[in-house]
C-alpha cells in the first residue's frame, strides 16, 4: 500500500476545501475571508488565483465536478457562485435571505442547484434565475430548531439530508417545481413536495451532528455526532421506520466528518487526528483500522511545504525549550511523553517525544472526502484537511479490512 501524500497548505486551519474536477487544482480557505486556488506542480501546490468577495470568514467551499463552478459561503451571510472566464474567476450573487452565518454548502449531483445551511435555522436550496442573472433560494424552515451544521445530497438529485446542532438529522425533499422533472418515489418516501420531511433521526446522547452522508446507492444514511457516536441507518421503505439504526459508540474523541467508501465501508475522522475505516452491514458496524498507523515508523512525517515559511518565530524557531512551551500552550502537552507510546485503551492520540502527535495530522481533522475512484466505482483514495493546515491524500483499501493490510506487509 502506498503511503499518504502530505501537503502543508497553511499555517492555520483550513476552513473549506474543494478539488477541481480533474484534481489538478484545489480551492481552500486559510481561515480568512478569501479563498485561494492552488495548482498542482509536481510535489508542490502553487497559488494561482484568489477569490476575494466575502467580508467575513468563508465557512465552506464546493466545486461542481461537471460544470466547473465553485460556490463559497461565509459568515457574512452570503454565498457566491464563481465561474471561470478568460479574465479569471467571476462571482455571481446568491440571494440567500438568511440573517445568520451560512455554515455549509453542497452542489446537488446534477449541479442545477445547491443547498446552503445556516445559523438562522434555514436551509436554502438555490437555483439559477435567468431573468435576473442571479441565484435565488427556496427556503426550508420546518421543523428546524437550531443551526444546520452539515448537508448531503442523495444521488437522485432530489433528497437532501441535514444534520443540526440540536442532535437531529432530517431527510428532506429538495425538489424544486418548475426547475426539474417530478421525482420518482424512493426508498425514503413517495410524496415529495419541496421541504417535506421524509425521515427524522436523533443522535443517541443528544450530541450535535457534525456530518451526514448518503451511501453511493442512497439507501443508507450515516452521521457522526459530538457524543462520540457513528450512526448508520438503513431505510426500509416509504412511511416505514428504518430497517436498522446502528449506533457505534466510540471509546475515542468525536468524529467531525465522514464519507462512504463503498456500501459496506465508511471513513470517519475528527478530534483524534486520524481517519478511521469502519466496515459493516445491516447487522452491525465496527472499526476496521486506522488509515494512519502511528506505530509504523516508515512514513514520512515531514510534510512538503507549499509557500510557507519554515521554522518558528525568529531565532527561537529551533529552540527546544521554546518549542516545549509552545506545544504546552497550543496543544496542552506537558512533560516528556513516553517514546513511541502506542495508542492506549483510553482512546487517546499518541504523542511523540518531541511533543508532536505521532499521527500525520497535528490537529483535528475537519474534512474527509473521496479523492479518486477505481474502475469498479469504489473509492480508492480520500483526502483530509484539518486545523493544522495540512492536506493529506490517503490510499484506502476498501472492504478488505485486515487481509488487505496484511498484503501490504513485508515479512
Amino acid at each position: 500500500m502506498s503511503s499518504p501524500e502530505i501537503f502543508q497548505l497553511s499555517l492555520g486551519p483550513l476552513t473549506g476545501i474543494a478539488f477541481s474536477p480533474d484534481r489538478s487544482q484545489v480551492c481552500v480557505c486559510p481561515n480568512t475571508n478569501e479563498a485561494q486556488i492552488y495548482t498542482r506542480n509536481g510535489e508542490q501546490w502553487d497559488l494561482t488565483d484568489t477569490l476575494a468577495e466575502h467580508d467575513k470568514l468563508i465557512t465552506a467551499i464546493a466545486w461542481g465536478p461537471n460544470t466547473n463552478r465553485i460556490v463559497t459561503c461565509s459568515q457574512d451571510r452570503n454565498a457566491y457562485v464563481w465561474t471561470q472566464t478568460e479574465q479569471g474567476w467571476k462571482p455571481a450573487l446568491v440571494i440567500l435571505k438568511i440573517n445568520r452565518a451560512a455554515t455549509c454548502v453542497k452542489w446537488s449531483p446534477a449541479e442545477n442547484k445547491f443547498a446552503v445551511g445556516s445559523g438562522s435555522r434555514i436551509i436554502a436550496i438555490c437555483h439559477f434565475d435567468e431573468e435576473n442573472n442571479w441565484w435565488t433560494a427556496k427556503q426550508i424552515k420546518k421543523p428546524l430548531r437550531s443551526t444546520i451544521l452539515s448537508l448531503d445530497w442523495h444521488p437522485n438529485n432530489y433528497l437532501l439530508a441535514a444534520g443540526t446542532a440540536d442532535g437531529k438529522v432530517y431527510v428532506y425533499s429538495g425538489y424544486i417545481k418548475g426547475l426539474e422533472a417530478k421525482p420518482e418515489a424512493t426508498i425514503w418516501g413517495d410524496r415529495l413536495p419541496t421541504g417535506a420531511v421524509l425521515a427524522e433521526f436523533k443522535s443517541p446522547n443528544g450530541g450535535w451532528v457534525h456530518d451526514v452522508a448518503f451511501s453511493p446507492s442512497g439507501d443508507i444514511l450515516a452521521f457522526v455526532a459530538h457524543d462520540s457516536s457513528l450512526n448508520v441507518i438503513y431505510a426500509a421503505g416509504p412511511n416505514e421506520p428504518p430497517a436498522a439504526h446502528i449506533v457505534v459508540k466510540l471509546p475515542s474523541l468525536p468524529f467531525t466528518s465522514l464519507t462512504f467508501v463503498s456500501e459496506s465501508s465508511i471513513v470517519a475522522a475528527g478530534h483524534d487526528c486520524q481517519p478511521i475505516l469502519f466496515t459493516g452491514s445491516e447487522s452491525g458496524w465496527s472499526i476496521s483500522h486506522s488509515l494512519d498507523d502511528p506505530t509504523s515508523s516508515s512514513k514520512p512525517l515531514t510534510p512538503s511545504a507549499t509557500g510557507v515559511r519554515s521554522g518558528g518565530v525568529g531565532r527561537l524557531g529551533n529552540n527546544e525549550a521554546f518549542n516545549m512551551f509552545k506545544a504546552a500552550d497550543s496543544k496542552g502537552q506537558r512533560g516528556t511523553p513516553q517514546p513511541g507510546a502506542a495508542p492506549s485503551s483510553a482512546g487517546l492520540t499518541p504523542v511523540g517525544q518531541d511533543g508532536q502527535l505521532l499521527t500525520i495530522h497535528q490537529n483535528t481533522i475537519t474534512h474527509v472526502e473521496p479523492y479518486e475512484w477505481n474502475q469498479n466505482g469504489e473509492v480508492s483514495k480520500i483526502f483530509t484537511t484539518g486545523r493544522d493546515g495540512r492536506l493529506v491524500l490517503w490510499p484506502v483499501s476498501a472492504g478488505k479490512g485486515l487481509s488487505g493490510r496484511m498484503a501490504g506487509l513485508q515479512v
Binding site: G167, G206, S228, S345
Partner: protein
C-alpha cells in the same frame, strides 16, 4: 452602570420562538411519581445487595434507567446517594472487574455520577475525592475518553 443593564434582560422571555429543554431531549416516559417510587425501591434494593456483598449487582441495578431531566430532584438525590454508597464500599482491587461487566450505557451513566459526586465534594456529603478519582481513572481506562465526551454532551442530566 446603565450601559450594562441590558445584559440582565431575560431575552428568552421576549422571544416567542424560544428553544426549551424539552426540544432538546425527550422527557422520561415514566411520570415524576413513578420515577420517585422507582428510585426509592432501587435504593433499598441496593442496600440489600451491598450487605450481601454483591457490588456488581448493586451497580447494575442503580445504573439501569436512572432518573433524568427536570422536576425529579428527590429521585436524583436518592440515586446519587445509593451510587456513592456503592463506590465507597468497593475494594479498589475489584473495581476493574466490575467496570468491565457493565454495559456501555451503564458506563456512561456511571461516569456522569462520578462527576456529580465530584461536584458534591465539600457540600456536606460524605464522599472522598480519592475514591472518586480512582473510579474515574479506571473507568476511563475501560470505556475510553468517548465516555467522558458523552457525559459532557448529554442534556439528560442525571
Amino acid at each position: 452602570m446603565s450601559e450594562f443593564a441590558f445584559r440582565k434582560i431575560n431575552i428568552d422571555a421576549l422571544e416567542e420562538d424560544v428553544l426549551l429543554p424539552s426540544d432538546l431531549y425527550d422527557p422520561d416516559p415514566r411520570g415524576e411519581q413513578d420515577v420517585l417510587s422507582d428510585a426509592q425501591q432501587k435504593s433499598s434494593e441496593v442496600r440489600n445487595l451491598i450487605s450481601r456483598g454483591d457490588i456488581a449487582g448493586a451497580l447494575n441495578t442503580v445504573l439501569s434507567d436512572p432518573p433524568y431531566g427536570e422536576g425529579v430532584d428527590e429521585a436524583k438525590d436518592l440515586t446519587k446517594n445509593s451510587l456513592l454508597l456503592i463506590l465507597n464500599s468497593t475494594r479498589a482491587s475489584e473495581i476493574q472487574g466490575i467496570l468491565k461487566s457493565l454495559g456501555q450505557e451503564q458506563q456512561d451513566h456511571l461516569m456522569a455520577y462520578i462527576y456529580k459526586g465530584m461536584a458534591a465534594i465539600g457540600q456536606g456529603s460524605d464522599v472522598s475525592g480519592s475514591v472518586l478519582l480512582n473510579w474515574h481513572a479506571q473507568l476511563t481506562e475501560v470505556a475510553g475518553v468517548g465516555c467522558i465526551v458523552r457525559v459532557m454532551t448529554d442534556r439528560r442530566t442525571l
